[in-house]
C-alpha cells in the first residue's frame, strides 16, 4: 500500500504542477498581449490633488478619494482584534517583575524611543511624503512587541479602556462622518478647507488603534493558548 500511495501522490503532484504552470503560461501570454491601461486616472488624481488637502497622492487616494475603502479597512482590523481578544483574556498573564539586565530590555531601551520618534515623523510626514497611518502604526506595534518580549506589560487588554483604544480608529472615522454629514449632507465628503486637518485627525487615532490591534494579534499568539 505504501508504494502505491507514494506513486499516486507523485502523479497528483505532477498533475497539479502541470495544471498550475499551464495557468501561469496563459496569464503570461495575456500580459504580453495586453498593454497596460493608458493611465488616464493618474492625471485626474493629480488634477484634483489640491482639493484633497494633502500632497502625497497615495494618502490622498487612501483617505480622500477612496476613503470608503480605508473606512472598511479599519472595520476589518477591528473585527480580527475582536475575534482574537478572548484568546489573550483566557490566560491570566503572570505578574513578571522587570528583570533589569535582560538583553531584550537593553535593546528595547535603545530602539523603542527611536521608533516612537520615527513613527511620529512618519505620521506627520504622511501628508506630503511617503508615510502615513499604517506605516506609523506598524512601527508603534513593533515597539510594543519589543517591550512585550522584554516582559514589560504595556497594554492590559481586559479593561474597557483598552477596548475603546482598539476601536478608536473606526470611531474617529464615524465621528468625522457624522460631523461632516451635518454640514454637507454627503457621505465622507471632506470639505476642502479643513480636509487636511480632518485627515490628520483620523490618521492620529487610526495609528494608535491599528498599532494596538497589531500588538494584540501578536500578543494573542505569543501569550495566549497556554
Amino acid at each position: 500500500m505504501k508504494t502505491s500511495s507514494l506513486v499516486s501522490q507523485r502523479t497528483m503532484a505532477v498533475v497539479i504542477i502541470s495544471l498550475v504552470s499551464a495557468i501561469a503560461a496563459l496569464l503570461l501570454i495575456a500580459f504580453i498581449q495586453q498593454p497596460v491601461h493608458d493611465n488616464a486616472l493618474r492625471e485626474v488624481v493629480f488634477a484634483n490633488l489640491d482639493k484633497t488637502g494633502v500632497s502625497n497622492p497615495v494618502t490622498a487616494v487612501l483617505l480622500n478619494y477612496r476613503a470608503f475603502d480605508t473606512y472598511l479597512e479599519f472595520a476589518v482590523f477591528l473585527c480580527v482584534a475582536v475575534a482574537v481578544l478572548p484568546y489573550v483574556l483566557d490566560v491570566q498573564l503572570p505578574k513578571q517583575k522587570l528583570s533589569a539586565e535582560s538583553q531584550v530590555l537593553a535593546i528595547a531601551k535603545i530602539f523603542v524611543p527611536l521608533s516612537i520618534l520615527m513613527a511620529g515623523y512618519l505620521l506627520w510626514i504622511g501628508s506630503t511624503q511617503p508615510g502615513g497611518a499604517f506605516q506609523a502604526a506598524s512601527l508603534l506595534a513593533g515597539c510594543l512587541v519589543l517591550l512585550s518580549l522584554a516582559n514589560v506589560r504595556t497594554i492590559d487588554f481586559s479593561t474597557a479602556r483598552s477596548r475603546f483604544l482598539l476601536s478608536g480608529g473606526l470611531l474617529a472615522f464615524i465621528v468625522v462622518n457624522i460631523v461632516v454629514f451635518s454640514q454637507t449632507f454627503c457621505f465622507i465628503t471632506l470639505p476642502q478647507n479643513i480636509a487636511g486637518s480632518l485627515i490628520l485627525f483620523i490618521e492620529f487615532f487610526a495609528t494608535f488603534a491599528v498599532s494596538a490591534s497589531l500588538f494584540l494579534c501578536f500578543e494573542s499568539i505569543h501569550k495566549g493558548h497556554l
Binding site: 494618502t59 508615510g131 506605516q135 506595534a141 513593533g142 512587541v145 497589531l214 501578536f218 499568539i221
Partner: protein, 94 residues
Amino acid sequence: MAIDLWIDVILCLSVLFVASSIFLVKNTFSAIVLFICLGLVVMFCWIRLNAIDVAIAEAAIGSGLTGAMLIAAWRKLAFNESGDQPDEQKEKSE
C-alpha cells in the same frame, strides 16, 4: 543592456529562488525565516518600482510583524510536531 535592468533581473531571480526554497526546505522554522527574507527582498522590488509607501508597509507589516507572529506561533506549535521539535535539538545537545 542598461545596468538597472540587470539589478531588476537579479532581484527577480532572488525573489523566485527564496520563494521556491520556502517550500523545498525541510523544517518549518527555516521556512518561516525564508519567508521573512522574501518579505525584505520584495521590499527592494517595491523600491525599484517607485512604490515607497508600499515598501515601508511591506517591510514593517508584511515581513516584520507577520514574521514575529509566525515565530511566536511556531514556538507554540513545534512541541508536538513529529518533525523538527526543539526538544529533539535539546536531546542532541545534551
